[in-house]
């Protein structure tokens, strides 16, 4: 797994080294100050300017009213946060994000697991299916959005044509709130499946065969084997996949921008889209900063959870 392409490598990172830093075992020179500056300097500069500083600056801006180019004008304390959390529009955005994230994570995991489980058995030609199942990993967000925009587009799209053949009532997929949310969830899940499949497939392959043989001898049914052997054995990978998918879903922007632009009626106005709107369309940088901080806190919490879990896994 460690040798995987793209984020596939993440679960394979030997987490044993996560909590402690330092390099015991290596005989180090006493003073490498200048070397350290040369080796680490460029990275520190970039991370300082584009990660640390903006984090503090966002926090700072979130306490101010700002002018139309984003300079702070009046200090208002936590008023931006109070305004946000009491605004029904922001609550609706949080709620839409929650629905989207839960839908994306649930269906990505269930379908990813189904694909992996089907592909792990040895059958003639199975290699073809494995390749196909991982194909959406090569799809970028705007390509996915265009393919699905067409499928969901009114009258010419595939879904409307099928509905038409079956004499079902026409659904305006992208211009009706509920169906629009379903449409962006379906598109996101499809885009996620390639990566999720590869990770879960890798995990399934590593489950020791004797476990299944022993279970079969005991007379365990396939579904019993699945829930009592497979799932526990791959639970660390399942956990990893779900947090990665979840964090990715919280950060969704491109697909929303292309497919619905947050609409209809703000039904798909997810958190990042709301930040973009308030900052870059409405010029309300203070408010958008507060929204950014809330987003960052949520994502940081889930990332911490993931670190903690990887750390714990090491101890046994």
């Amino acid at each position: 797994m460690q040798e995987g392409i793209t984020p596939a490598s993440k679960p394979g990172l030997k987490p044993k080294a996560l909590p402690q830093s330092g390099a015991k075992g290596f005989n180090l020179h006493v003073n490498d100050k200048w070397y350290a500056l040369a080796f680490l300097g460029p990275s520190l500069l970039i991370l300082g300017v584009f990660v640390f500083y903006p984090m503090l600056r966002t926090l700072y801006l979130s306490l101010f009213l700002t002018d139309n180019v984003g300079r702070p004008t009046v200090f208002i304390g936590l008023q931006n946060y109070v305004n946000l959390l009491t605004s029904s529009a922001y609550q609706a955005s949080l709620q839409a994000t929650a629905v989207y994230v839960i839908g994306v994570v649930a269906f990505t995991l269930i379908l990813g697991l189904l694909l992996a489980q089907m592909a792990v058995r040895k059958l003639a030609g199975i290699q073809w299916f494995r390749t196909i199942f991982s194909a959406t990993m090569g799809v970028s967000v705007s390509v996915a959005a265009i393919f699905w925009l067409f499928i969901f587009s009114p009258s010419v799209g595939l879904f409307d044509q099928i509905g038409n053949l079956l004499h079902l009532p026409l659904v305006q997929w992208l211009t009706t709130p509920g169906p629009a949310m379903i449409a962006v969830i379906i598109s996101t899940v499809w885009m996620n499946l390639g990566f999720t499949f590869l990770i879960l497939f890798g995990a399934l392959q590593m489950v020791p065969q004797p476990l299944y043989e022993a279970a079969a001898i005991e007379g365990a049914s396939p579904s019993y084997q699945f829930f009592h052997v497979t799932i526990p054995m791959i639970s660390p990978t399942l956990f990893f996949t779900s947090t990665v998918t979840l964090i990715g879903a919280f950060k969704s922007f491109g697909l929303i921008d292309l497919m619905t632009a947050g609409g209809p009626n703000n039904a798909t106005n997810l958190m990042v889209y709301q930040v973009y709107r308030d900052a870059f369309l409405n010029g309300n940088y203070g408010l958008a900063s507060a929204e950014s901080v809330i987003l960052a806190v949520i994502i940081a919490l889930f990332t911490l959870l993931q670190f903690k879990f990887l750390e714990k896994r090491v101890t046994y």
Binding site: M1, S9, V30, T58, M137, A216, V272, I299
Partner: protein, 272 residues
């Protein structure tokens, strides 16, 4: 995992059904890219007027090839820079001794929790002040290094046997030499992984280039497609689908070629 012969056809049926679901959007996109837009607009998807006219039109009338070139330049520069700066940084955390090393490492680890999406407001102000807007540089400079890359390579460098470092010290190799001659070759698989990861990550950027580039000269492919889709070409479905196919085919080829190596990597890991 005991195979019973009677269940084989059923298994194939499920596999084929799943394959159709996964491939459906690709196939439909490819199929409609071959049809005249007039037929698509009428809903006549079973049209027999197949041609590559949409592709010719997309290449001639839109900047799709320029977008691809832009993305290729941006992603390659980002990848090369991350390989260099992440490996140098990781080396410092494993092989150098200096004050505050652990603190710095924890700070960098902490940045992995912060989504770039939540920091675009100050970052936009920064690049505007630095006069970087609408340029390749604006899409490369913020991503010259990455906390994830440093972290990942640090893990890889820690696997280097201490005896190698001791032998290098006896030989009188300085840090640059040890970094170049021993550390990098030893961790080449992790470097390859980071290369693929950083390239794709850059290739898939959407929000940042959308905010910072305003002309076709520098616009990367994700935002180029957005441009096509939102501009006068809207509803010219044939051409839009052709553009999407032009964009997706190179990455699919890379993926399928790369998967061979990926699979070998997996097997290696499994037999260790």
């Amino acid at each position: 995992m005991i195979q019973t012969k009677t269940r084989k056809p059923l298994r194939y049926l499920v596999l084929i059904l799943l394959a159709v679901i996964i491939l459906g959007p690709f196939l439909l996109g490819f199929w409609t890219s071959l049809l005249p837009t007039a037929d698509i607009a009428k809903g006549a998807l079973w049209s027999t007027h197949i041609s590559f006219a949409n592709y010719a039109e997309a290449v001639k009338q839109t900047a799709i090839l320029r977008y691809l070139l832009n993305s290729f330049v941006i992603s390659t520069l980002t990848m090369a820079a991350q390989l260099l700066f992440c490996s140098l940084g990781a080396y410092a955390f494993v092989f150098l001794k200096f004050k505050g090393r652990d603190l710095l490492f924890y700070l960098i680890l902490a940045t992995m929790m912060l989504p770039f999406e939540a920091e675009v407001i100050p970052n936009f102000a920064t690049v505007r002040k630095l006069n970087l807007l609408n340029n390749y540089a604006v899409m490369v400079i913020p991503f010259l290094t990455s906390a994830f890359g440093i972290f990942m390579l640090r893990q890889a460098f820690r696997q280097i046997p201490p005896e190698l470092k001791e032998a290098a010290d006896v030989e009188g190799l300085n840090h640059w030499q040890f970094y170049w001659r021993v550390t990098l070759p030893y961790a080449r698989i992790s470097l390859f992984t980071l290369a693929a990861y950083s390239f794709l990550e850059s290739w898939n950027q959407y929000l940042w280039p959308m905010l910072t580039t305003f002309s076709d000269k520098f616009r990367p492919v994700q935002d180029g497609l957005r441009q096509l889709q939102s501009q006068e070409t809207f509803n010219n479905w044939g051409m839009i689908q052709a553009s999407a196919v032009i964009v997706v085919v190179p990455t699919l080829i890379v993926l399928f070629v790369g998967q061979h190596y990926f699979k070998n990597g997996l097997n290696e890991g499994a037999t260790k």
